[in-house]
Symmetry: C2
Protein backbone atom coordinates (compact mmCIF):
# COMPACT_ATOMS: atom_id res chain seq x y z
CA UNK A 1 0.00 0.00 0.00
CA UNK A 2 1.37 3.42 -0.91
CA UNK A 3 2.11 5.96 1.83
CA UNK A 4 0.94 9.57 1.84
CA UNK A 5 2.87 12.25 3.75
CA UNK A 6 2.10 15.90 4.30
CA UNK A 7 4.72 18.47 3.38
CA UNK A 8 6.42 19.71 6.53
CA UNK A 9 7.00 23.47 7.00
CA UNK A 10 10.76 22.74 6.87
CA UNK A 11 10.46 21.40 3.34
CA UNK A 12 7.89 23.84 2.01
CA UNK A 13 10.45 26.08 0.25
CA UNK A 14 12.10 23.07 -1.41
CA UNK A 15 8.85 22.00 -3.03
CA UNK A 16 8.09 25.59 -4.04
CA UNK A 17 11.41 25.63 -5.88
CA UNK A 18 10.82 22.26 -7.53
CA UNK A 19 7.40 23.35 -8.77
CA UNK A 20 8.64 26.76 -9.94
CA UNK A 21 11.32 25.06 -12.04
CA UNK A 22 8.80 23.04 -14.12
CA UNK A 23 7.72 24.39 -17.53
CA UNK A 24 4.06 24.50 -16.47
CA UNK A 25 4.68 26.78 -13.47
CA UNK A 26 7.43 28.80 -15.14
CA UNK A 27 6.98 32.51 -14.38
CA UNK A 28 4.03 31.99 -12.01
CA UNK A 29 3.87 34.23 -8.92
CA UNK A 30 5.05 32.84 -5.58
CA UNK A 31 1.58 32.99 -4.07
CA UNK A 32 0.17 30.81 -6.86
CA UNK A 33 2.91 28.23 -6.37
CA UNK A 34 2.50 28.33 -2.58
CA UNK A 35 -1.21 27.62 -2.95
CA UNK A 36 -0.38 24.47 -4.90
CA UNK A 37 2.28 23.32 -2.43
CA UNK A 38 -0.08 23.93 0.52
CA UNK A 39 -2.58 21.57 -1.05
CA UNK A 40 -0.08 18.88 -2.05
CA UNK A 41 1.27 15.78 -0.43
CA UNK A 42 3.99 13.25 -1.09
CA UNK A 43 2.94 9.79 -2.14
CA UNK A 44 5.41 6.87 -2.12
CA UNK A 45 4.93 3.80 -4.28
CA UNK A 46 6.82 0.55 -4.44
CA UNK A 47 7.68 -1.16 -7.71
CA UNK A 48 4.60 -2.24 -9.66
CA UNK A 49 2.10 -0.32 -7.54
CA UNK A 50 -0.80 1.33 -9.36
CA UNK A 51 -1.01 5.14 -9.12
CA UNK A 52 -4.39 5.31 -10.86
CA UNK A 53 -6.44 3.33 -13.34
CA UNK A 54 -8.07 4.19 -16.64
CA UNK A 55 -11.56 5.67 -16.09
CA UNK A 56 -10.88 6.54 -12.43
CA UNK A 57 -12.10 9.93 -11.23
CA UNK A 58 -9.15 12.32 -11.61
CA UNK A 59 -8.72 14.43 -8.48
CA UNK A 60 -4.96 14.82 -8.77
CA UNK A 61 -2.13 15.53 -11.11
CA UNK A 62 1.45 14.56 -10.27
CA UNK A 63 5.08 15.58 -10.33
CA UNK A 64 7.72 12.85 -10.19
CA UNK A 65 10.15 13.46 -7.30
CA UNK A 66 12.16 10.26 -7.82
CA UNK A 67 11.73 6.99 -9.71
CA UNK A 68 9.68 6.37 -12.84
CA UNK A 69 6.03 5.90 -13.71
CA UNK A 70 4.62 4.16 -16.76
CA UNK A 71 1.43 5.41 -18.44
CA UNK A 72 -0.23 2.72 -20.51
CA UNK A 73 -3.47 1.47 -22.00
CA UNK A 74 -4.71 -2.06 -22.40
CA UNK A 75 -6.21 -3.35 -25.62
CA UNK A 76 -9.31 -5.52 -25.53
CA UNK A 77 -7.27 -8.63 -26.25
CA UNK A 78 -4.95 -7.86 -23.37
CA UNK A 79 -1.89 -6.26 -24.98
CA UNK A 80 -0.31 -3.32 -23.25
CA UNK A 81 0.48 -0.11 -25.13
CA UNK A 82 2.93 2.13 -23.28
CA UNK A 83 2.05 5.80 -23.85
CA UNK A 84 4.74 7.51 -21.79
CA UNK A 85 7.38 6.94 -19.14
CA UNK A 86 8.10 9.86 -16.83
CA UNK A 87 11.07 10.42 -14.52
CA UNK A 88 12.14 13.12 -12.06
CA UNK A 89 10.63 16.61 -12.37
CA UNK A 90 8.04 15.64 -14.99
CA UNK A 91 4.41 16.62 -14.46
CA UNK A 92 1.73 14.25 -15.72
CA UNK A 93 -2.03 13.53 -15.70
CA UNK A 94 -2.91 17.23 -15.89
CA UNK A 95 -4.74 16.69 -19.22
CA UNK A 96 -7.45 14.76 -17.35
CA UNK A 97 -9.05 18.10 -16.46
CA UNK A 98 -10.04 18.38 -20.13
CA UNK A 99 -11.50 14.86 -20.04
CA UNK A 100 -14.24 15.51 -17.49
CA UNK A 101 -11.75 14.74 -14.72
CA UNK A 102 -11.42 11.10 -15.77
CA UNK A 103 -7.98 9.52 -16.19
CA UNK A 104 -7.45 8.36 -19.78
CA UNK A 105 -4.82 5.70 -19.10
CA UNK A 106 -3.37 3.48 -16.38
CA UNK A 107 -0.40 4.65 -14.33
CA UNK A 108 2.01 2.36 -12.48
CA UNK A 109 5.28 2.89 -10.60
CA UNK A 110 8.00 0.95 -12.44
CA UNK A 111 10.36 1.10 -9.47
CA UNK A 112 10.32 2.66 -5.99
CA UNK A 113 8.83 6.05 -6.81
CA UNK A 114 7.93 9.23 -4.92
CA UNK A 115 5.33 11.56 -6.39
CA UNK A 116 4.15 15.02 -5.42
CA UNK A 117 0.35 14.82 -5.60
CA UNK A 118 -1.31 18.12 -6.57
CA UNK A 119 -5.02 19.02 -6.73
CA UNK A 120 -6.32 19.01 -10.31
CA UNK A 121 -9.39 21.12 -9.46
CA UNK A 122 -7.11 23.92 -8.28
CA UNK A 123 -5.17 23.81 -11.56
CA UNK A 124 -8.41 23.90 -13.53
CA UNK A 125 -9.63 26.99 -11.60
CA UNK A 126 -6.25 28.73 -11.78
CA UNK A 127 -5.81 28.48 -15.55
CA UNK A 128 -8.95 30.57 -15.87
CA UNK A 129 -7.41 33.58 -14.17
CA UNK A 130 -3.64 33.04 -14.22
CA UNK A 131 -2.87 33.69 -17.85
CA UNK A 132 0.74 32.51 -17.77
CA UNK A 133 -0.41 29.12 -16.48
CA UNK A 134 -2.73 28.73 -19.48
CA UNK A 135 0.04 29.84 -21.86
CA UNK A 136 2.52 27.40 -20.26
CA UNK A 137 0.03 24.55 -20.58
CA UNK A 138 -0.48 25.40 -24.24
CA UNK A 139 3.29 25.44 -24.86
CA UNK A 140 3.65 22.16 -23.01
CA UNK A 141 1.01 20.49 -25.16
CA UNK A 142 2.46 21.84 -28.37
CA UNK A 143 5.87 20.48 -27.38
CA UNK A 144 4.28 17.12 -26.54
CA UNK A 145 2.49 17.01 -29.88
CA UNK A 146 5.81 17.67 -31.62
CA UNK A 147 7.45 14.86 -29.66
CA UNK A 148 4.60 12.50 -30.57
CA UNK A 149 5.00 13.40 -34.26
CA UNK A 150 8.66 12.49 -33.95
CA UNK A 151 7.78 9.16 -32.34
CA UNK A 152 5.35 8.37 -35.17
CA UNK A 153 7.97 9.36 -37.74
CA UNK A 154 10.52 7.06 -36.10
CA UNK A 155 8.12 4.11 -36.09
CA UNK A 156 7.47 4.73 -39.80
CA UNK A 157 10.95 5.31 -41.20
CA UNK A 158 13.60 4.13 -38.74
CA UNK A 159 14.67 0.52 -38.27
CA UNK A 160 14.40 -1.00 -34.80
CA UNK A 161 18.20 -0.64 -34.36
CA UNK A 162 18.05 3.03 -35.29
CA UNK A 163 15.25 3.65 -32.80
CA UNK A 164 17.27 2.06 -30.01
CA UNK A 165 20.27 4.18 -31.03
CA UNK A 166 18.07 7.28 -30.97
CA UNK A 167 16.88 6.41 -27.45
CA UNK A 168 20.55 6.15 -26.38
CA UNK A 169 21.44 9.45 -28.07
CA UNK A 170 18.63 11.19 -26.16
CA UNK A 171 20.32 10.05 -22.95
CA UNK A 172 23.68 11.53 -23.91
CA UNK A 173 22.55 14.64 -25.73
CA UNK A 174 23.67 16.97 -22.93
CA UNK A 175 27.19 15.66 -23.21
CA UNK A 176 29.81 17.79 -24.94
CA UNK A 177 32.42 15.13 -25.65
CA UNK A 178 32.27 12.50 -28.42
CA UNK A 179 32.59 9.48 -26.15
CA UNK A 180 30.49 8.72 -23.12
CA UNK A 181 29.05 5.98 -20.99
CA UNK A 182 25.45 6.04 -19.90
CA UNK A 183 23.24 4.10 -17.52
CA UNK A 184 19.92 2.84 -18.94
CA UNK A 185 17.19 4.60 -16.93
CA UNK A 186 14.93 1.54 -16.60
CA UNK A 187 14.94 -2.09 -17.65
CA UNK A 188 15.23 -3.25 -21.25
CA UNK A 189 11.74 -4.77 -21.42
CA UNK A 190 10.30 -1.36 -20.54
CA UNK A 191 12.56 0.42 -23.04
CA UNK A 192 11.33 -2.04 -25.68
CA UNK A 193 7.72 -1.27 -24.73
CA UNK A 194 8.37 2.49 -24.84
CA UNK A 195 9.79 2.04 -28.35
CA UNK A 196 6.84 -0.14 -29.35
CA UNK A 197 8.85 -3.34 -29.80
CA UNK A 198 8.44 -6.89 -28.61
CA UNK A 199 11.30 -7.89 -26.26
CA UNK A 200 12.66 -10.35 -28.89
CA UNK A 201 12.68 -7.64 -31.57
CA UNK A 202 14.49 -5.36 -29.13
CA UNK A 203 17.16 -8.00 -28.38
CA UNK A 204 17.79 -8.70 -32.07
CA UNK A 205 17.88 -4.98 -32.92
CA UNK A 206 20.27 -4.22 -30.04
CA UNK A 207 22.58 -7.03 -31.23
CA UNK A 208 22.51 -5.53 -34.72
CA UNK A 209 23.26 -2.06 -33.33
CA UNK A 210 26.27 -3.46 -31.43
CA UNK A 211 27.53 -5.13 -34.61
CA UNK A 212 27.30 -2.06 -36.85
CA UNK A 213 28.54 0.55 -34.34
CA UNK A 214 31.20 0.47 -31.64
CA UNK A 215 28.78 0.66 -28.68
CA UNK A 216 29.09 -1.88 -25.91
CA UNK A 217 26.39 -2.94 -23.49
CA UNK A 218 27.08 -4.44 -20.07
CA UNK A 219 23.87 -4.93 -18.11
CA UNK A 220 22.44 -1.44 -17.80
CA UNK A 221 25.73 0.28 -18.66
CA UNK A 222 26.21 1.42 -22.26
CA UNK A 223 29.62 2.54 -23.54
CA UNK A 224 29.45 4.85 -26.53
CA UNK A 225 33.03 5.42 -27.75
CA UNK A 226 31.93 7.49 -30.75
CA UNK A 227 28.72 9.53 -30.53
CA UNK A 228 29.15 10.83 -34.11
CA UNK A 229 29.21 7.29 -35.45
CA UNK A 230 26.01 6.44 -33.57
CA UNK A 231 24.23 9.63 -34.65
CA UNK A 232 25.25 9.06 -38.27
CA UNK A 233 23.76 5.59 -38.11
CA UNK A 234 20.46 6.75 -36.53
CA UNK A 235 19.83 10.25 -37.82
CA UNK A 236 20.15 9.32 -41.50
CA UNK A 237 16.60 7.96 -41.20
CA UNK A 238 15.23 11.00 -39.35
CA UNK A 239 14.19 14.52 -40.35
CA UNK A 240 16.11 15.99 -37.37
CA UNK A 241 19.80 15.71 -36.65
CA UNK A 242 21.74 15.16 -33.45
CA UNK A 243 21.59 16.84 -30.97
CA UNK A 244 17.77 17.03 -31.17
CA UNK A 245 16.12 20.22 -29.97
CA UNK A 246 13.23 18.31 -28.43
Amino acid sequence: MNAIAKISPDNFATYQEILASTPIFDGCKNEVISEFVSNSSIQSFSKGEIVYNYSDKANWFYLVLSGYVKLYRETMDGQEAVIDIFGANKIFAESAMFENFIYQENCEAVEKTDLLRLPLGLLSRKIEDVQILAANLLNHNIATKKQKNKEIEHRDVQTASQRIGCFLLDLCSQNKTNSTSIELPYDKILIAAKLGMQPETFSRALAKLKSVTSIQVNGSLVEIPDISELSEFCCSACSSSFPCKS
Copy 2:
Protein backbone atom coordinates in the same frame (compact mmCIF):
# COMPACT_ATOMS: atom_id res chain seq x y z
CA MET B 1 1.63 28.71 -59.82
CA ASN B 2 -1.06 29.04 -57.17
CA ALA B 3 -3.66 31.82 -57.43
CA ILE B 4 -4.58 34.19 -54.61
CA ALA B 5 -7.98 35.87 -54.50
CA LYS B 6 -9.39 38.45 -52.10
CA ILE B 7 -12.65 37.70 -50.34
CA SER B 8 -15.45 39.64 -51.99
CA PRO B 9 -17.98 41.54 -49.82
CA ASP B 10 -20.68 39.15 -51.14
CA ASN B 11 -18.88 36.15 -49.65
CA PHE B 12 -17.70 37.75 -46.42
CA ALA B 13 -20.53 36.30 -44.31
CA THR B 14 -19.94 32.79 -45.70
CA TYR B 15 -16.31 32.80 -44.55
CA GLN B 16 -17.31 34.26 -41.19
CA GLU B 17 -19.62 31.28 -40.74
CA ILE B 18 -16.99 28.76 -41.85
CA LEU B 19 -14.44 30.19 -39.42
CA ALA B 20 -16.94 30.41 -36.54
CA SER B 21 -17.76 26.72 -36.99
CA THR B 22 -14.14 25.57 -36.39
CA PRO B 23 -13.14 24.39 -32.90
CA ILE B 24 -10.45 27.07 -32.63
CA PHE B 25 -12.86 29.99 -33.19
CA ASP B 26 -15.75 28.38 -31.33
CA GLY B 27 -17.49 30.96 -29.13
CA CYS B 28 -15.37 33.90 -30.36
CA LYS B 29 -17.14 37.23 -30.82
CA ASN B 30 -18.19 38.31 -34.32
CA GLU B 31 -15.78 41.23 -34.38
CA VAL B 32 -12.82 38.92 -33.70
CA ILE B 33 -13.86 36.58 -36.51
CA SER B 34 -14.48 39.50 -38.88
CA GLU B 35 -10.99 40.82 -38.23
CA PHE B 36 -9.57 37.47 -39.32
CA VAL B 37 -11.75 37.25 -42.44
CA SER B 38 -10.86 40.85 -43.41
CA ASN B 39 -7.19 39.88 -43.41
CA SER B 40 -7.61 36.56 -45.22
CA SER B 41 -7.50 35.50 -48.83
CA ILE B 42 -8.27 32.38 -50.82
CA GLN B 43 -5.35 30.49 -52.27
CA SER B 44 -5.89 27.81 -54.94
CA PHE B 45 -3.38 25.02 -55.52
CA SER B 46 -3.22 22.34 -58.15
CA LYS B 47 -2.25 18.76 -57.37
CA GLY B 48 1.32 18.44 -56.09
CA GLU B 49 1.85 22.17 -55.55
CA ILE B 50 3.82 23.21 -52.47
CA VAL B 51 1.96 25.34 -49.90
CA TYR B 52 5.07 25.95 -47.80
CA ASN B 53 8.38 24.29 -47.02
CA TYR B 54 10.06 23.24 -43.80
CA SER B 55 12.04 26.16 -42.28
CA ASP B 56 10.14 28.80 -44.30
CA LYS B 57 9.10 31.94 -42.43
CA ALA B 58 5.53 31.32 -41.20
CA ASN B 59 3.33 34.32 -41.94
CA TRP B 60 0.11 32.37 -42.38
CA PHE B 61 -2.02 29.62 -41.01
CA TYR B 62 -4.65 27.88 -43.12
CA LEU B 63 -8.15 26.48 -43.25
CA VAL B 64 -8.93 23.86 -45.91
CA LEU B 65 -11.94 24.95 -48.01
CA SER B 66 -11.80 21.98 -50.39
CA GLY B 67 -9.31 19.27 -51.33
CA TYR B 68 -6.56 17.82 -49.16
CA VAL B 69 -3.10 18.86 -48.01
CA LYS B 70 -0.31 16.59 -46.84
CA LEU B 71 2.07 17.67 -44.07
CA TYR B 72 5.33 15.76 -44.16
CA ARG B 73 8.99 15.77 -43.26
CA GLU B 74 11.93 14.38 -45.14
CA THR B 75 14.62 12.27 -43.52
CA MET B 76 18.26 12.85 -44.37
CA ASP B 77 18.36 9.76 -46.55
CA GLY B 78 15.34 10.98 -48.52
CA GLN B 79 12.42 9.07 -47.07
CA GLU B 80 9.17 10.91 -46.54
CA ALA B 81 7.32 10.76 -43.22
CA VAL B 82 3.70 11.90 -43.49
CA ILE B 83 2.67 13.75 -40.33
CA ASP B 84 -0.91 14.66 -41.16
CA ILE B 85 -3.43 14.87 -43.97
CA PHE B 86 -6.09 17.55 -43.64
CA GLY B 87 -9.37 17.92 -45.54
CA ALA B 88 -12.25 20.41 -45.54
CA ASN B 89 -12.75 22.69 -42.51
CA LYS B 90 -9.49 21.71 -40.82
CA ILE B 91 -7.14 24.44 -39.59
CA PHE B 92 -3.40 23.76 -39.74
CA ALA B 93 0.04 25.37 -39.36
CA GLU B 94 -1.09 27.51 -36.41
CA SER B 95 1.50 25.87 -34.13
CA ALA B 96 4.27 27.62 -36.07
CA MET B 97 3.65 30.70 -33.92
CA PHE B 98 5.20 28.78 -31.03
CA GLU B 99 8.20 27.85 -33.20
CA ASN B 100 9.49 31.39 -33.79
CA PHE B 101 7.16 31.66 -36.80
CA ILE B 102 9.04 28.98 -38.73
CA TYR B 103 7.13 26.12 -40.39
CA GLN B 104 8.16 22.77 -38.92
CA GLU B 105 7.22 20.56 -41.89
CA ASN B 106 6.53 20.65 -45.64
CA CYS B 107 2.99 21.14 -46.91
CA GLU B 108 1.74 20.06 -50.34
CA ALA B 109 -1.68 19.96 -52.03
CA VAL B 110 -2.46 16.31 -52.80
CA GLU B 111 -5.20 17.25 -55.27
CA LYS B 112 -6.79 20.49 -56.50
CA THR B 113 -7.14 22.34 -53.21
CA ASP B 114 -8.51 25.69 -52.02
CA LEU B 115 -7.22 27.15 -48.77
CA LEU B 116 -8.27 30.13 -46.71
CA ARG B 117 -5.00 31.86 -45.80
CA LEU B 118 -5.11 33.65 -42.43
CA PRO B 119 -2.49 35.90 -40.79
CA LEU B 120 -0.56 34.05 -38.07
CA GLY B 121 0.67 37.27 -36.44
CA LEU B 122 -2.93 38.32 -35.79
CA LEU B 123 -3.67 34.95 -34.15
CA SER B 124 -0.58 35.29 -31.99
CA ARG B 125 -1.64 38.79 -30.82
CA LYS B 126 -5.27 37.78 -30.29
CA ILE B 127 -4.60 34.78 -28.04
CA GLU B 128 -3.02 37.20 -25.61
CA ASP B 129 -6.25 39.07 -25.01
CA VAL B 130 -9.06 36.82 -26.26
CA GLN B 131 -9.15 34.20 -23.56
CA ILE B 132 -11.53 31.82 -25.33
CA LEU B 133 -9.14 31.66 -28.29
CA ALA B 134 -6.30 30.55 -25.99
CA ALA B 135 -8.58 28.01 -24.30
CA ASN B 136 -9.73 26.64 -27.68
CA LEU B 137 -6.14 26.30 -28.85
CA LEU B 138 -5.28 24.42 -25.68
CA ASN B 139 -8.23 22.05 -26.16
CA HIS B 140 -7.29 21.56 -29.79
CA ASN B 141 -3.74 20.60 -28.87
CA ILE B 142 -4.84 18.25 -26.13
CA ALA B 143 -7.18 16.51 -28.58
CA THR B 144 -4.34 16.29 -31.12
CA LYS B 145 -2.01 14.81 -28.52
CA LYS B 146 -4.65 12.19 -27.70
CA GLN B 147 -5.03 11.34 -31.37
CA LYS B 148 -1.24 11.02 -31.73
CA ASN B 149 -1.14 8.67 -28.73
CA LYS B 150 -3.76 6.55 -30.45
CA GLU B 151 -1.71 6.49 -33.66
CA ILE B 152 1.38 5.38 -31.73
CA GLU B 153 -0.65 2.71 -29.93
CA HIS B 154 -1.95 1.40 -33.27
CA ARG B 155 1.53 1.21 -34.75
CA ASP B 156 2.63 -0.75 -31.68
CA VAL B 157 -0.18 -3.25 -31.19
CA GLN B 158 -2.35 -3.48 -34.31
CA THR B 159 -1.49 -5.47 -37.41
CA ALA B 160 -1.32 -3.64 -40.74
CA SER B 161 -4.73 -5.12 -41.70
CA GLN B 162 -6.27 -3.90 -38.45
CA ARG B 163 -4.88 -0.40 -39.02
CA ILE B 164 -6.43 -0.26 -42.49
CA GLY B 165 -9.72 -1.48 -41.03
CA CYS B 166 -9.53 1.22 -38.36
CA PHE B 167 -8.96 3.87 -41.04
CA LEU B 168 -12.10 2.61 -42.83
CA LEU B 169 -14.12 2.58 -39.60
CA ASP B 170 -13.18 6.23 -39.00
CA LEU B 171 -14.76 7.06 -42.34
CA CYS B 172 -18.05 5.38 -41.47
CA SER B 173 -18.27 6.22 -37.78
CA GLN B 174 -21.10 8.74 -38.31
CA ASN B 175 -23.24 6.07 -39.89
CA LYS B 176 -26.08 4.56 -37.89
CA THR B 177 -26.67 1.40 -39.90
CA ASN B 178 -24.53 -1.74 -39.86
CA SER B 179 -23.78 -1.80 -43.58
CA THR B 180 -22.39 1.04 -45.62
CA SER B 181 -20.32 1.92 -48.63
CA ILE B 182 -17.64 4.58 -48.45
CA GLU B 183 -15.41 6.42 -50.86
CA LEU B 184 -11.69 6.51 -50.00
CA PRO B 185 -10.84 10.21 -49.47
CA TYR B 186 -7.48 10.10 -51.29
CA ASP B 187 -5.37 7.57 -53.13
CA LYS B 188 -4.13 4.32 -51.60
CA ILE B 189 -0.45 5.27 -51.70
CA LEU B 190 -1.22 8.30 -49.55
CA ILE B 191 -3.39 6.25 -47.18
CA ALA B 192 -0.47 3.82 -46.84
CA ALA B 193 1.88 6.74 -46.05
CA LYS B 194 -0.58 8.16 -43.50
CA LEU B 195 -0.66 4.75 -41.81
CA GLY B 196 3.15 4.50 -41.95
CA MET B 197 3.25 1.56 -44.39
CA GLN B 198 5.12 0.85 -47.58
CA PRO B 199 2.70 0.54 -50.55
CA GLU B 200 3.49 -3.20 -50.84
CA THR B 201 2.72 -3.77 -47.15
CA PHE B 202 -0.52 -1.86 -47.63
CA SER B 203 -1.54 -4.03 -50.62
CA ARG B 204 -0.80 -7.27 -48.79
CA ALA B 205 -2.60 -6.09 -45.64
CA LEU B 206 -5.64 -4.93 -47.61
CA ALA B 207 -5.80 -8.33 -49.35
CA LYS B 208 -5.66 -10.00 -45.93
CA LEU B 209 -8.41 -7.69 -44.61
CA LYS B 210 -10.63 -8.62 -47.57
CA SER B 211 -10.02 -12.32 -46.93
CA VAL B 212 -10.87 -12.26 -43.21
CA THR B 213 -13.84 -9.86 -43.37
CA SER B 214 -16.65 -9.37 -45.87
CA ILE B 215 -15.48 -5.94 -47.12
CA GLN B 216 -15.10 -5.43 -50.87
CA VAL B 217 -12.91 -2.84 -52.56
CA ASN B 218 -13.53 -1.56 -56.08
CA GLY B 219 -11.12 1.22 -56.96
CA SER B 220 -11.83 3.91 -54.37
CA LEU B 221 -15.22 2.45 -53.40
CA VAL B 222 -15.32 0.24 -50.30
CA GLU B 223 -18.39 -1.85 -49.48
CA ILE B 224 -18.71 -2.74 -45.80
CA PRO B 225 -21.66 -5.15 -45.45
CA ASP B 226 -21.09 -5.67 -41.71
CA ILE B 227 -19.55 -2.85 -39.66
CA SER B 228 -19.71 -4.93 -36.44
CA GLU B 229 -17.61 -7.65 -38.05
CA LEU B 230 -15.00 -5.11 -39.14
CA SER B 231 -14.92 -3.38 -35.75
CA GLU B 232 -14.58 -6.71 -33.96
CA PHE B 233 -11.59 -7.54 -36.14
CA CYS B 234 -9.87 -4.17 -35.60
CA CYS B 235 -10.85 -3.03 -32.12
CA SER B 236 -9.73 -6.22 -30.39
CA ALA B 237 -6.19 -4.85 -30.68
CA CYS B 238 -7.08 -1.35 -29.45
CA SER B 239 -7.80 0.20 -26.07
CA SER B 240 -10.85 2.02 -27.50
CA SER B 241 -13.92 0.49 -29.07
CA PHE B 242 -16.00 1.47 -32.07
CA PRO B 243 -17.34 4.12 -32.52
CA CYS B 244 -14.26 6.03 -31.33
CA LYS B 245 -14.83 9.28 -29.50
CA SER B 246 -11.84 10.90 -31.17
